[in-house]
Amino acid sequence: MTIQQNTTSKFIHVRERVIKYSLFSSAMFSVIALFAIVVFLLSRGIPAISQVGLWKFLFGTDWNPNASTPVYGIFPMILGSIYVTGLATIISLIFGLFIAIFLYKFCPKKFRSTIEQVINLLAAVPSIVYGLFGIMIVVPVLREIAPNFVGHGILASSIILSIMVLPTIVSISLSALRSVPRELYEGALALGATREQSVFKVIFPAARSGVYTAIILSIGRAIGETMAVIMVIGGSPQMPTSLFQSIDTLTALIARSAREESGFLVEVLIAVGVVLLFFALILNYILMKIKERKVAHNYKIQLKKNNEKANRSTIVGLTKFIIIVQEYWKIFWQTIGKSIKFVLTKPIYYFAYLLKITRLSLLWYKFWAWIDTWWSVHNRQTIKYKILKWWTYIASTCGVLMLLAILYFIISGGLPYLSWEFIFGKYTLDNPTLMPAIVGTLIVVGIALVIAIPIGVACAIFLSEYARQARGVKYLRLAIDSLAAIPSIVYGLFGFIVFVGIFGWDYSLIAGGLALSIMTLPTVIRITEESLLAVHHTYREASRALGASKVRTTFRIVLPSSLSGIGNAMIQTIGRAISESAVLILTIGMVVGVMPSNILSPGTTLSLNIYYFGNTLYPDQAAATGVVLLILVLILNLGLSLIVKLLSKKQGK
């Protein structure tokens, strides 16, 4: 009896270790991938940079490869990328965070899942369609508003990009909000706070880490976005000085000519890719520091106690700086700030009072009766949060209307050209069809899913369940965040150098699928991890207390409870894989008319077909392909959400 027990426990022990290390090794995959990307890009880019000269390359303000003495200065493009990305992120934060809060608390239950679906759908609209939308609607409208009658440029690109980035911000901050324990909200209510106050002052700050993740991922997407930007940015390589001016970004520069040019210019463009890569890595590093600072800020009381130790760390230096700033701010506020606020706000109150006493007609009376009740019910403190709440309504309306506008634009353009023959017929030059693209899409998405989902989920399990015990997790997280921040065009360049070039696969479906799977990996990890963390810790404790091993707890209790998160990860992966074109254009070959016979043959996907059709003689077919793609994504989203719902029902939730 005892011997048997011993062997069983030994077996369990071995199994635990084996599973732990296999999880660890799949977590290391992302580190290896990051390393490979950096090494291969550097090996091609560094020689070109050294030939041009680092200073001239980075800070030269003149880009003219066509001149008799070519000049390669990419400073205008660097600035352009920074401006566009920054503005886009700010706009989409202003909307996205509030949409997330709206969906979390204020949205009527009836609409909640619909609006969520709609926002998820925004992620699946291919970027090339956003570009078309931009050039048809956004640029003409801006042209009328702009002082110099130029619609292209920073503002147009930022608006388009902010719509694209919106679903990333909404879905990640929403899952972060949902993972905040309900007790916090209830506690705030019990203390007498209003609904709005407790959401904005308690829940939202508690979900901060998720918001930072959202910012990282959205900046990564905004920097890397190519196909939409290329259509609205203008493309003239000059220093950006205004919002309405034809400029260029790094990604647009690469995508416009990487496949077309030859000789030294290709090497220079790979060097631009290196700059983009480092740009993303540095940005990511800064954001990581911000996160750390927040952690340090929470523990500043403990850190104050052992000052000597604290002095050595830069983080604590930052914390100290913040404390000093806070002290100064307090003094400033007590002396001057309050009077400034008084001067600024008092006239508004006087004005409101004046309006109040001049109620003249019956119409005004009703209006003012409403204002009166409003004014008396809510004091000034709550009005601030009321306004924020209103803004969540407005932001969500905007998001939904934006999607409807884009949908209307695509469908009205493409529906007349849609037919059974167009989708499933045989491809000829006069009647191009989508059959090769559909097969290609299925293969590429399949490869990406088969590789990214198991590795990503394993990595997420390792991070959420085992990471506390392992050393160097910080660097693992850094690697994952960096992968997320790397622009997709850089993945394209990597696939172009390694899979197409060094592995000798030529342009092929497998090269595209592999590049895509590395690209979608961080998304899978992030979403799965958030959903794993959302599983309440009592589940784990109860399971362990009943005698289940760690592995058993993880795979039987924790993982099934977070299946909806994994489903969400799959939706995002498929959506991204289907709509991605910047990666595939450099790896897959864009052979539109031939049925792929195996994974080594070149092919095309639906989104590449839009690009191809739009660029050649079939603009109407491009719009029709857009419709097909949208319908496909819609079916996928609905089907997966149905599966997730069924699964959670089975769980008895």
Partner: protein
């Protein structure tokens, strides 16, 4: 009461946004002389751009002027969609492309000559360029299939297909294509996006005659790709959509080993200057175009009025 105000709030916000968007879309205006010229150009690897620059400036190296409104786009279709959506725009495009996509844009005559087949044939239209393929002599002699395809392009059958696509080709001295028995093999082609549709059609017709030929690998990325295709010996043919000078041939021959690169012209194409449909200008001179597309002269037009008034 409470529910009613909530609904009202929703409706208010919705109607506000709808009205704003309707007002914004409604105020998009037509062509106006006093506004800036939106110059649309292709990227530097484009054969169409090279063709235009060769036609306007000859061998002189030029670069685009820098201004708020100079737009560089990556494809022929992007030029069309940019010009179609912008009343102030001017762009250029291959004739073969414009024949199938003329909605919403106007063709301009250059120095009083409209681009069409007749004016191209008698050389009175100034902005023309040849569409051609380049190939390595050693590679083409080794690949029987490629040699046969080249013969097909230069045959009467080939030029018939080119003519169907409304391109101009001189085929008075051409012979019909001779069927080659037992021919099989693969042909790989890379290069210009302008030439590619034409080559695709030629390939389909060629495969009807010689069914055992594999022509799946036709990559269209831009004329520049044909240079590296010759240098790296990766493709049988490179497609090129501008005049091929001797120095370019030399560049193509600069790869590893000793080999000779030859060219073969498929057709003659015109570069058409296009403007928005509401633009009432019908003619533009070569001089005006020269100043518009190069910074070398130092002369810039701030708005359409200045361009129209220049040179009468």
């Amino acid at each position: 009461m409470h529910i009613k105000t909530k609904r009202l709030r929703f409706l208010l916000i919705l109607s506000l946004f709808l009205s704003i968007s309707i007002i914004l879309v409604a105020c998009i205006s037509d062509f106006r002389e006093d506004r800036i010229i939106q110059v649309v150009s292709r990227d530097s690897s484009s054969g169409t751009r090279k063709g235009l620059e060769q036609a306007l400036y000859g061998e002189e190296k030029v670069s685009l002027p820098k201004g708020d409104s100079y737009e560089v786009v990556a494809s022929e279709a992007a030029v069309i969609s940019s010009v179609r959506s912008n009343p102030q725009a001017i762009g250029y495009e291959g004739l073969g492309f414009i024949n199938t996509n003329y909605r919403g844009v106007n063709k301009l005559s250059v120095d009083g000559v409209l681009p069409d087949e007749d004016s191209l044939r008698d050389n009175s239209y100034k902005l023309s360029r040849p569409l051609s393929v380049v190939y390595r002599l050693d590679k083409i002699n080794a690949n029987r299939a490629a040699k046969a395809f080249l013969d097909f392009i230069n045959s009467k059958d080939g030029s018939d297909i080119v003519k169907q696509q409304k391109y101009v080709v001189d085929d008075t001295l051409r012979e019909p294509y001779q069927y080659v028995p037992d021919l099989s093999g693969a042909i790989k082609i890379a290069g210009s996006t302008t030439v590619e549709p034409l080559i695709q059609r030629l390939a389909v017709a060629f495969k009807d005659i010689q069914p055992n030929i594999n022509m799946d690998n036709i990559h269209a990325t831009g004329s520049g790709a044909s240079i590296s295709a010759m240098q790296d010996n990766t493709h049988d043919f490179g497609m090129y959509s501008a005049e091929i000078s001797d120095s370019l041939i030399e560049e193509m021959q600069s790869g590893d080993g000793d080999y000779i690169v030859e060219k073969s012209t498929i057709a003659l194409d015109a570069i058409v200057i296009i403007v928005h449909a509401t633009n009432y200008i019908s003619n533009i001179s070569v001089e005006q175009l020269k100043h518009l597309y190069s910074s070398n002269s130092g002369l810039t037009f701030n708005n359409w009025k200045e361009l129209i008034n220049y040179g009468g």
